[in-house]
Each structure stands twice: as structure tokens, then as C-alpha cells.
């Protein structure tokens, strides 16, 4: 993480805590970033030097109207444009999330499955992970057919591997360790 991203993320986080709008800013900032990530052309426009700041603010205003963003978040994004720091917006969001998670006693987790996880299973897994880590868990499901079956959960630097791939790998290790 760059120092710029850390500084801006900390400023936004401090303001959100101060104004008691952490959840709101967290959700809305994530929505905006998801939009920029899914619309690569929109992000390119925001980073194009030949387009002036007022035009870029016009683009942001259209997003604000659609998403009805919090005023403090709007001001924050405008400041990034004014100070030519918009290129750091994704990184700032990531740093901001890292600040919010401990504050909300929350942890991000990724569960990899060979088939999409239906909502019931996702909620059940989230619940059990929360019980296990004693934290609120935000779970993201990613499809990875190479695991064959079962699931693998990544929480921070911890891995809980219940995949068929892992079982096959363990079997392979055991079979290879047999002395002839």
C-alpha cells in the first residue's frame, strides 16, 4: 500500500468514525469501486489527463445521483480529483476496508468451490466461520473447478482446505512416502 493511499484512507476513516457513518461510507465506497472495476472505460476516462477536472466531476455527479452517495464520500472523491489523486482510488478503498474491518470486528473471507454456492450454504458457512473466528465474516464465493469438490476458505493468512484436490494431494504425499 502506498503512503498516499494510507493517508487518504485514514482521513476518510477518521471522518466516518467521527460522523458515525462508517457502515454507510464503507458500503457506498465499495459500490463505487465495484462500478469502476466493472466499467473499465469509465475508470480510463477518470484518469485521462486531456479531460479536465470539471468534466470528471460531472461524470462523478451522475454516479452520485444514481447511487445517492453520502455527502462526505462525495466530497472525498471530489478532493481526489482536485488533487489529481484519483488514480489511487482503488488502493485507497482497499486500505479503507483494512481499517474498517478491525473497527467493526469484521474479517473478509473467500470461499472457493467447484460449483456456485447457493445462498443457504453461503449463509451457513458464514455463520460457522463467524463462530469459529468470533468475528463478523464477509464471505466472497469464487468458482475454482480445479478443486474438484468440497470447499477451500481463505481468511487472512489462514487456509481451511476441505477440497477433493487437497485430499488427493494428501493421498499422493502418503503414497509417495511409502518405501519400496
Amino acid at each position: 500500500m502506498s503512503l498516499v493511499a494510507k493517508r487518504y484512507a485514514q482521513a476518510l476513516f477518521d471522518t466516518a468514525v467521527d460522523k458515525n457513518i462508517v457502515d454507510e461510507v464503507f458500503d457506498e465506497f465499495s459500490t463505487v469501486i465495484d462500478l469502476f472495476k466493472s466499467e473499465a472505460e469509465l475508470m480510463d476516462l477518470m484518469l485521462t489527463p486531456s479531460i479536465n477536472t470539471s468534466e470528471k466531476k460531472g461524470i462523478l455527479n451522475r454516479i452520485y445521483k444514481e447511487e445517492s452517495l453520502n455527502q462526505y464520500l462525495k466530497n472525498f472523491l471530489d478532493i481526489l480529483l482536485d488533487r489529481s489523486r484519483f488514480e489511487y482510488v482503488v488502493e485507497i478503498n482497499e486500505t479503507f476496508r483494512q481499517l474498517v474491518f478491525p473497527y467493526k470486528n469484521t474479517v473478509e473471507a473467500v470461499v472457493k468451490t467447484a460449483v456456485p454456492l447457493d445462498e443457504t450454504l453461503r449463509v451457513a458457512l458464514e455463520k460457522n466461520l463467524e463462530k469459529r473466528f468470533d468475528k463478523k465474516v464477509i464471505l466472497d464465493n469464487q468458482i475454482d473447478e480445479t478443486i474438484i469438490g468440497g470447499a477451500v476458505v481463505y481468511v487472512g493468512d489462514q487456509i481451511i482446505d476441505g477440497s477433493i484436490r487437497n485430499q488427493l494431494n494428501q493421498m499422493k504425499t502418503q503414497m509417495n512416502s511409502i518405501r519400496l
Partner: protein
């Protein structure tokens, strides 16, 4: 003058000659006898001394001969000793060379055996690894084919339960 034959006897001549001889004898005896006798005695002494010297030399030569024979015997003894030592040393060297050669040969053999064992082990492990890979590849294909949505769900449910159990 009376002529006679080739040989004639004249008494006067004979007497004169005899007188001459006697005079000559006494002169010689008087003047030269002791000198001649001294010379002869000296010569005799010299010869005696030479004979004695020769005898002494002979004795000395005999002693030298004995001495040299003794020395020769010593030399032969030493020569035999040197040859014996040389033989012993050569034998020891031969044994040392043989021992070294045996040790080296054993080391080479041991190394070769170890390499053979290693290669054998490598080959066995490679075969084993191939068998394992092939078995797991086949198992994976079968599992892929056999897995249906229900089995996926069952496995995930099992995983969720285990996540909840272990803390």
C-alpha cells in the same frame, strides 16, 4: 833363438810367473782382501736382509690376506644383510602397495555399489511416482465424472459442519 813347437815350457818363465803370482797374491791379499771380504759380507748381509724382508713381507702378506679374507667375509655378510633388508623392504612395500590397491579397489567397488543402489532407488521412486500420478489422475477423472450437484452439496455441507466444529 831356439825354435820349438807351438807349446814350449820355459823354466824361467815359469818361475818368474810363479813369483809374479805370489807377489800379486800378497799385494791383493794385503790391499784388497779385507775390502773384498767386507763387500762380500755386506752383500751377504744385504741378501740375508732381503730374504728376511721377503719372509716378513710374505708373513705380512699372509696376514693381509687373512685380514682381507676376513673383510671380504664381513662384506659378504653385510652384502647378504643388505640384500635381506632390501628384500624385506621390497616385501613390505609390495604388501603396502597391495594393501593400498585392495583398499582403493574396495572403495571403488563400494562407491559403484552405492551408485547402483542410488540409481536403483531413483528408478524405483520414479516408477512409484509415475504409478501414483497415474492412479491419482485416474481417480480424479472418475471423481469428476461421478460428482453430481447433490454430492457437491453434501461435501460442502460436511465442510461447513467441520468449520463450525473446530475452533
Amino acid at each position: 833363438m831356439e825354435t820349438t813347437g807351438l807349446i814350449s815350457i820355459d823354466a824361467r818363465v815359469m818361475i818368474a810367473t810363479l813369483i809374479n803370482f805370489v807377489i800379486f797374491f800378497f799385494i791383493v791379499k794385503h790391499f784388497f782382501y779385507d775390502a773384498i771380504k767386507g763387500i762380500i759380507a755386506k752383500r751377504q748381509d744385504s741378501i740375508t736382509a732381503e730374504i728376511t724382508g721377503a719372509e716378513e713381507k710374505n708373513v705380512s702378506a699372509g696376514q693381509l690376506k687373512l685380514e682381507y679374507e676376513g673383510l671380504l667375509a664381513d662384506i659378504k655378510g653385510k652384502e647378504r644383510e643388505i640384500i635381506r633388508d632390501a628384500n624385506a623392504e621390497a616385501q613390505a612395500q609390495r604388501q603396502a602397495i597391495l594393501d593400498k590397491a585392495h583398499i582403493e579397489a574396495k572403495a571403488v567397488l563400494d562407491k559403484a555399489n552405492a551408485e547402483i543402489e542410488l540409481e536403483k532407488s531413483k528408478a524405483m521412486n520414479e516408477v512409484k511416482s509415475n504409478i501414483v500420478d497415474l492412479s491419482l489422475f485416474a481417480a480424479e477423472k472418475i471423481i469428476h465424472k461421478e460428482m453430481d450437484p447433490k454430492q457437491h452439496e453434501a461435501m460442502i455441507l460436511d465442510f461447513i459442519d467441520k468449520v463450525g466444529e473446530a475452533k
